[in-house]
Symmetry: C2
Subunit: 132 residues, 2 copies
């Protein structure tokens, strides 16, 4: 696994309030495909707010590692288990069009490993929201 | 405030175990100045593990925004309060040689705002650990 984080998502109760705060702070207009999530471009990574976090064990925060293909998702999940992590969600096709699974580190922090064909990855590992 | 995250720190109970996991996963050898913290270079940002997190209200995770001068720390903290955040720790000189304060967003997530003269900032907002 390359040592990088492509997405940090915070679980929120009041999405409109949290979104308004980060917009006022200078994070710009987020990509907000529905009423449950907002994704801000944050330099080479993405910063997300989501009302539905916790579905697979994340305590309020989830890290994500985006990769370039579905096969790499499987590879990274296997590496995480081999390193002593725990598989939290086997990789599967997602309704948002990608392929994703999740592991927990020894402390219980959850990392999603995802291939999202709509979020282009740079050769430096940066990720860019569509249309940015 | 520029829309970027320069450091994400996870609070851990077993630093040696968590460090060994991330080393095995490919994050390389961390900067570990004492037995309480380990900082991994993660592309343009830093990923930290710390046994002492929570001292000013972080629930297990803390985000950080590094800036180029002590004056910018004060400016960003004021911006955060103006945007609806809460000052959690007024900025002060730190024993590690920098200047730092912290705010909480409306959901209670804590951001440290710091000037660390030992962690060079790039013009693109990336941060590099000393000696990397």
């Amino acid at each position: 696994m390359d040592p990088r984080i492509t997405l940090i998502t915070l679980g929120v109760r009041d999405l409109a309030g949290a979104r308004a705060f980060y917009e006022a702070l200078g994070f710009g207009t987020p990509l907000a495909p529905d009423g449950e999530v907002a994704f801000f471009q944050a330099g080479p990574m993405v910063f997300g707010l989501w009302t539905d976090l916790g579905g697979h064990g994340a305590p309020g925060i989830e890290l994500a590692h985006n990769v370039g293909s579905p096969e790499e998702v499987d590879t990274v999940l296997a590496e995480a288990v081999a390193a002593g992590g725990t598989l939290r969600r086997p990789a599967e096709r997602m309704d948002w069009g990608g392929y994703s699974g999740a592991f927990a580190d020894p402390e219980g922090y959850v990392w999603e490993v995802a291939h999202n064909p709509s979020w282009p990855l740079g050769t430096d590992g940066s990720v860019t929201l569509p249309g940015r």
